[in-house]
Symmetry: C2
Subunit: 139 residues, 2 copies
DNA sequence: TTAAATGCAAATCTTTTGCACTGGC
DNA sequence: GCCAGTGCAAAAGATTTGCATTTAA
């Protein structure tokens, strides 16, 4: 496809070592185009993509999200058995999960201080620590 | 059905305020019969039940697990998008998740000390805090 | 040119649901 | 006897996969 100028999204794709195809660029643009962090589900990203007029299939959205995760530029977050969320912020940080509407957002990492963590059992090491703070609307 | 002596499982069912049917008793027995805490998936509990010769359908296992959760005697844990885990320990405590084989186990709660937690956003309050420590086999 | 990426539909997997039947109370 | 509980099969929702077609390098 025709060369693009080096947008943030293009660089991000390059960092992932993935071929910059039309749909990957469109999805990358939606994910990190403005340099903000974002939390999406496959479905929400698919919806966003088609609203910009991009031609992408849902299967490709899934495959692309998976590819981004494997490339390490995206993080999958499990918070609610039914669906997967993807986070453009790949640093280890806590999340707020709004139980009312199933929305996920970042919690301020600097406000979380873990003084002590359980030791990993014999023969294992800690890969990561997921912290999800579940919120409900105050009554 | 015929009266049972008051096993731990029977008491546990009674505490949940659920009618002690044959299949609920069988499942309760597998879950808390020996007074130990256990982490199961619907599938694993179904498998365990049929290995004891109990007659239960998978749908009933799902419905029963859900009923136990709603009654507050069981806790659902989300750790891995694909399936739900259920924990007989209903106290708030951290978990170890073994990435290699998808097993879930309790982490010692007293070894986790959270010095500070992010403030809940305006209008919201913290319902609970899920901590999952992901483990990988040490290389 | 050629291997990688895509689109679509069908398949898979987990979980829920509708409905007729069974069994506690 | 009544109504909650159950079994089964079918449905539903999320994600993956097979395969023929397109496309970036």
């Amino acid at each position: 496809m025709k060369p693009e100028r080096a947008t943030y999204a293009t660089l991000w794709l390059g960092r992932a070592g993935l071929r910059p195809t039309r749909q990957r660029l469109a999805l990358a643009e939606l994910l990190v185009g403005d340099g903000q962090h974002r939390h999406v589900t496959a479905e929400s990203l698919f919806e966003a993509a088609r609203q910009t007029g991009a031609t992408v299939s849902l299967a490709t959205v899934y495959n692309t999200l998976r590819a981004f995760c494997e490339a390490g530029v995206l993080n999958e977050i499990t918070v609610d058995g039914s669906k997967s969320y993807f986070d453009t912020n790949t640093h280890d940080h806590p999340h707020f999960f709004w139980e009312d509407d199933g929305r996920l957002s970042d919690a301020p990492a600097e406000q979380l201080q873990i003084a002590r963590l359980p030791d990993a059992p014999e023969g294992a090491e800690i890969a990561s620590v997921d912290v999800v703070i579940r919120l409900r609307r105050k009554s």
